[in-house]
């Protein structure tokens, strides 16, 4: 449904300094002035420092960080709810920073939609009228807007609640309205600012499934902000970890869990259920010539947990990992899998499995 030629989002050398004379200090920050020094000497707060992220079209880009890391500031630069101090934000090849007010308004109407942590629904409007808000702002005819809105209300599982008011719904249901409102816009970019952080854990997992399900069909470019690593690993095709306004690591879930960039990331990763994230490629050894052709196979990309489930049901022995064409690309056994699950960072650090072999 998203524009076929959508070119994704590119953020380049983005700086944000809060304070009355922000632009005067960019050069100093570029040359290494630290956040603490900037605050102490000039009373300015460094929000974001030299952010460079490329988000390809149709992917879920997760931006993760603790509170105060600048993640909410960062997502607001994509639709310019916050103006940057320096840098470029290219959405589909157009620099958002250079847009005038009218262009920006049109850009927000057509290219982006946003879901908010605190839902931000209009309390005096019912579910239907909240959902079609974006279309109403665009000037879409009411009857057409109602059709579209009803489709999305049904799609997020709120059929029958159209005439309820936000205060009559639970948090999870309110956020479904928020999601429907954003999707009804049919914009290629979907911005989700800690969209699920205010929900309780079960509902959060539920809403994550809703999003993953939807994404299979809508293929939007989704920017998802979260402080929860499990959520980040589950949703993100790409993950960027932010601390004190700087990106400290970028990569997919495998990169983050297997090769944390520093102790800060490693600390996060420690608490993660590795079995659900790490894939068998990370621990397999290359297939040898005399491999029994009758042994069990699992496809590449299987998580360790799923692989162990297969092994637990079958006979003892090696399991072949097969590529998309069915050709064996590696071999794993129970010991390797178990080792990968309990290992904290360091031991399994290479994709080629050389360390795993040594286990």
């Amino acid at each position: 449904m998203a524009d076929q030629h959508f070119d994704g989002i590119k953020i380049r050398h983005l700086y944000k300094i809060f304070g009355p004379n922000a632009s005067a200090h960019v050069e100093a920050v570029r040359n290494g002035l630290s956040k603490a020094e900037l605050n102490e000497k000039f009373g300015h707060v460094l929000g974001l420092k030299d952010i460079n992220i490329e988000m390809p079209s149709g992917c879920v880009q997760v931006i993760m960080g603790l509170s105060g890391s600048g993640k909410s500031t960062l997502i607001r630069h994509i639709n310019r709810l916050i103006d940057p101090t320096a840098g470029e934000v290219l959405v589909n090849g157009v620099d958002v920073v250079k847009m005038n007010e009218l262009e920006l308004r049109e850009f927000r109407r057509q290219q982006t939609a946003m879901v908010f942590q605190k839902f931000a629904l209009l309390p005096h409007r019912n579910v239907l009228d909240n959902t079609l808000y974006g279309l109403e702002v665009q000037g879409v005819e009411r009857s057409k807007a109602v059709d579209v809105a009803m489709r999305w209300i049904e799609r997020v599982g709120l059929k029958g609640f159209e005439s309820k008011y936000p205060n009559q719904l639970s948090g999870g249901m309110q956020q479904r309205v928020g999601l429907a409102r954003a999707l009804a816009n049919d914009a290629p970019v979907l911005l989700m600012d800690e969209a699920y952080s205010a929900l309780d854990p079960l509902i959060r997992t539920d809403m994550q499934s809703v999003l993953l399900d939807l994404q299979k069909e809508i293929r939007k470019t989704i920017v998802f902000i979260t402080h929860d690593l499990d959520e980040a690993l589950r949703l993100g095709d790409q993950i960027a970890i932010l601390r004190d306004g700087e990106v400290i690591q970028q990569g997919n879930s495998q990169d983050i869990v297997l090769r944390p960039a520093d102790d800060y990331v490693a600390n996060f990763v420690k608490e993660v259920n590795r079995g659900r994230v790490v894939q068998v490629e990370a621990v397999m050894v290359p297939p040898w010539a005399g491999l029994s052709p009758t042994c069990m196979t699992i496809p590449a990309g299987t998580t360790i947990e799923d692989a162990m489930r297969v092994i637990a049901k079958g006979p003892d022995g090696d399991v072949a990992v097969v590529g998309p064409g069915g050709e064996p690309i590696g071999v794993v056994n129970l010991r390797q899998l178990a080792g990968a699950m309990v290992n904290s960072h360091g031991a399994v650090s290479q994709h080629d499995g050389s360390v795993a072999r040594a286990l």
Binding site: Q110, M114, A120, L122, E136, N167, N185
Partner: protein, 295 residues
């Protein structure tokens, strides 16, 4: 040491000249522009006369029904409707119907005018801190300056009658309208406003879809306050020829007619209570979607 015991004031001659000059200046201004200003306000006069004619010439059972219907429409409460009916019947029975209708028509026009002028000023004020800093002291003056004082220039400009009375009442009653509109819009949830912004709302769309609806309960409180203050002014306005319940009160003060005073005073209280309860109940009904049902 004389300056120590007596404040060294301007000498009498210069003071007199100063006062005379200001008075003379204003008088010249009145002579030059009085007619033009009167012409400017003449639509208001027509509006006032039409409203008063409607209220006094329509048969009383019809007026009563209209008021009760409005009370029901706004409050949806039988208790309030019944209270209105009893008050109106009592007023009529004690032969104060015509004066009451004149007062109600005056209050109605004052309220419409205050809303029409006050809400736009309140909206502008909420958008600019500088304007807020400018307007606030002016509102303070309007509320604290003894109303007799600003009756003088109004009467000099427009003479005695309905329109100067209306202006005096509006000057006194409009500040809460402006202040509460400003406050209501400033208190609108920033998150909701940000969401409207993120969906590309223009500033008119933000005002119409978000700011005004969310500020409406506060604005309603402002309207309620404006009505109450306008009612408080009817006695003073009657000194410059506004007809209604104020005139008998004035007569009672001058002649020490205790009963006449208390009856008319109670009639003012009665319609004040009607206006207050009905407008408050309406304001509360507007808020019903804001109560949190789920935590």
């Amino acid at each position: 040491m004389e300056w120590f015991y007596e404040f060294p004031s301007m000498n009498d001659d210069s003071l007199r000249t100063l006062k005379k000059a200001i008075d003379e200046g204003f008088r010249t201004f009145t002579r030059a522009y009085g007619d033009a200003i009167e012409g400017f306000f003449s639509p208001l006069q027509h509006f006032l006369i039409a409203a008063e004619r409607f209220m006094t010439q329509t048969p009383w059972p019809i007026i009563t029904l209209i008021i009760l219907a409005i009370a029901w429409g706004a409050s949806r409460s039988w208790k309030i409707v019944l209270g209105c009916l009893v008050t109106l019947l009592a007023i009529g029975y004690f032969d104060m119907w015509d004066d009451t209708m004149r007062t109600i028509s005056m209050i109605f026009v004052c309220t419409i005018l205050s809303i029409a002028v006050g809400i736009p000023i309140g909206i502008l004020m909420s958008r600019s801190d500088r304007l807020q800093r400018l307007v606030n002291p002016a509102l303070d003056v309007m509320q604290t300056m003894p109303s007799f004082v600003y009756l003088i220039p109004v009467v000099m400009l427009l003479g005695i009658g309905k329109v100067p009375g209306l202006i005096a009442v509006v000057i006194y009653a409009i500040p809460p309208m402006i202040r509460l509109t400003d406050l209501g819009i400033r208190l609108v949830d920033k998150d909701v406003l940000e969401a409207a912004e993120a969906f590309g709302s223009s500033s008119w769309q933000k005002l119409k879809n978000v700011q005004l609806p969310l500020a409406l309960p506060t604005i309603m409180a402002g309207i309620n306050q404006t009505i109450m203050m306008a009612l408080a002014m009817v006695v003073i306005a009657s000194m410059i020829g506004v007809q209604g319940l104020g005139q008998p009160v004035l007569k009672a003060i001058a002649n020490q007619y205790f009963t006449l005073g208390i009856f008319n005073g109670l009639a003012i209280v009665g319609i004040a209570i009607i206006f207050d309860r009905v407008s408050q109940a309406y304001g509360q009904r507007l808020q019903k979607h804001r109560e949190v049902v789920h935590g």
